[in-house]
């Protein structure tokens, strides 16, 4: 418990550092799946560890100890967690859960709005063209999802580049990329350390769609040119102030498309899987330690009861292992109910 409860934090930190290289070196599809999986497991590990740490503190509150029927002094004597750590964990956990809830509501609202807009778009075709000169193109998830492209964008692209654009957006819809986006968004809301994973993940989704478009069109350069030309055309239309942080994505995509497709590699995926397994195992270990600690604290209280011979009335009925004296039903001792029958 002393060490294992902190291991999920270490794994999360390692993932935050590794997300970017993974996103840039692995083929995008396995990278996206791996990042989504890693985000889910580490977010659960993070919340679980915080909850365990918080619990060691909460369990020492006398009212709660009374409710749970365990001895505060016994718990305190074996508890390896400082009270300060437990208090901070409780606070952090509360903030994270609230932030997760807010993000979940907002994300749900975004998805609903997208779905509504999808149904409200004119025509019943996969492609909805906006009669607008501003270059614009995106995939709108819904049932079914739609590809939204403006006239301005279509007029700035060549024949093959238009095909590449459609194939790219289609890949987003078909791969259900909004689900990946939601996973990264919500896990990053729960654990701010996972924000780099969300950024890397969104880059990987674009690369995934680029690669699928390249396969469809049969020419990586055409897709590279479509992306580049669309970006240059859009740049003239609007240039928001917050660029430095998110910039550089388009040139990276174009460069990746101009290079040969990334080679399949299984070693990083195996290593990542191992890391996640370590995270789960240490969380399970910490949980069982804390469970054992609580058990013995209950025992300590039981022992105290036995000494003062204030046996509870339930000692005489046939319902063992719960009720006020349920703690006394220890496997090492003779079966509680059997003694009195």
């Amino acid at each position: 418990m002393l060490i294992s409860v902190y291991i999920p934090f270490l794994v999360t930190a390692a993932l935050a550092v590794l997300a970017r290289p993974v996103a840039h070196r692995l083929p995008p599809r396995p990278a996206a799946l791996a990042l989504a999986c890693a985000a889910l497991v580490t977010a659960a590990g993070w919340a679980g560890s915080l909850a365990l740490l918080a619990f060691t503190g909460v369990a020492q509150i006398p009212q709660i100890a009374e409710e749970g029927r365990w001895s505060v002094s016994a718990l305190r004597s074996q508890d390896p967690v400082y009270a300060v750590v437990a208090a901070v964990s409780t606070l952090v956990l509360a903030v994270c859960v609230v932030s997760f809830g807010v993000a979940a509501v907002r994300q749900g609202r975004h998805l609903l709005r997208a779905r509504r807009e999808c149904a409200g778009l004119p025509g019943h075709t996969e492609l909805a063209v906006l009669d607008d000169d501003v270059p614009l193109a995106f995939a709108l998830p819904g049932a079914p999802g739609r590809i939204v492209v403006s006239r301005g964008m279509l007029r700035r692209l060549g024949d093959a580049e238009r095909e590449a654009l459609l194939a790219h957006e289609r890949a987003h819809l078909r791969g259900r990329h909004h689900v990946f986006q939601s996973v990264w968004r919500l896990t990053a809301a729960l654990n701010p350390l996972l924000r780099p994973v969300a950024v890397a993940g969104n880059f990987v989704l674009e690369r995934w769609a680029d690669e699928e478009a390249a396969e469809r069109v049969g020419d990586r350069t055409v897709v590279a040119h479509a992306v580049g030309r669309a970006a240059l055309a859009s740049a003239g239309a609007s240039r928001p102030a917050v660029l430095a942080a998110t910039g550089g994505v388009v040139p990276q995509r174009v460069r990746a498309l101009l290079a040969p497709p990334p080679a399949r590699r299984s070693l990083p995926l195996l290593a990542g899987g191992l890391l996640l397994a370590v995270c789960c195992a240490s969380l399970a270990n910490a949980a069982s330690d804390s469970d054992r600690m609580l058990d013995s604290a209950q025992w300590a209280l039981c022992g105290a009861h036995a000494d003062t011979t204030t046996a509870a009335p339930t000692d005489h009925d046939d319902t063992p292992a719960h009720g006020p004296d349920g703690c006394c039903a220890h496997p090492d001792r003779p079966e509680h109910g059997a003694r009195h029958v």
Binding site: A114, T125, V129, D131, A160, H172, V227, G248, V250, P251
Partner: protein, 142 residues
């Protein structure tokens, strides 16, 4: 039982392929700067589509009210039904600009460029424009 499943799969993939062809035809017509005949549209589209296929898609899109056509020679020339008065474009822009997490569920084709990105991109693209066209296709084309 499996036979029916196969048929359904073929039917579904046929429907999907039709949907994709409709998108390609629509995109081609919106990208063009004037009305196009079925033959001209066919030349704009990738792959070797049958003339009758293109004709079918054009007339289906026309039936849906997405294209307008006028006689040209023995056939028709098609162009997209304009929609400038509608609020659709405005709605879509507001979808993209509303709130800090505006791109929470949307996958935009391209993100914004910094000035530095713009130069880099121009270099990347022009570097490849100099290459002879035959070397553009990757050798291991799938």
């Amino acid at each position: 039982m499996t036979g029916r499943g196969d048929e359904e799969a073929i039917e579904a993939s046929g429907r999907r392929a039709r949907g994709e062809l409709e998108s390609a035809v629509l995109a081609a017509l919106w990208g063009a700067d004037g009305p196009r005949t079925a033959r001209e549209v066919r030349e704009q589209l990738p792959g070797d589509l049958a003339y009758t296929t293109v004709l079918t898609i054009l007339s289906r899109l026309h039936d849906k009210g997405m294209l307008v056509r006028h006689r040209e020679g023995r056939g028709y020339a098609y162009e997209p039904a304009r929609d400038e008065a509608s609020h659709t474009a405005q709605r879509m822009h507001s979808l993209l600009t509303g709130g800090s997490d505006r791109e929470a569920v949307l996958a935009r084709f391209v993100s914004e460029l910094s000035e530095q990105d713009e130069h880099l991109l121009q270099q990347l693209l022009s570097g490849h424009d100099d290459m002879p066209p035959e070397s553009r296709r990757p050798p291991g084309k799938r």
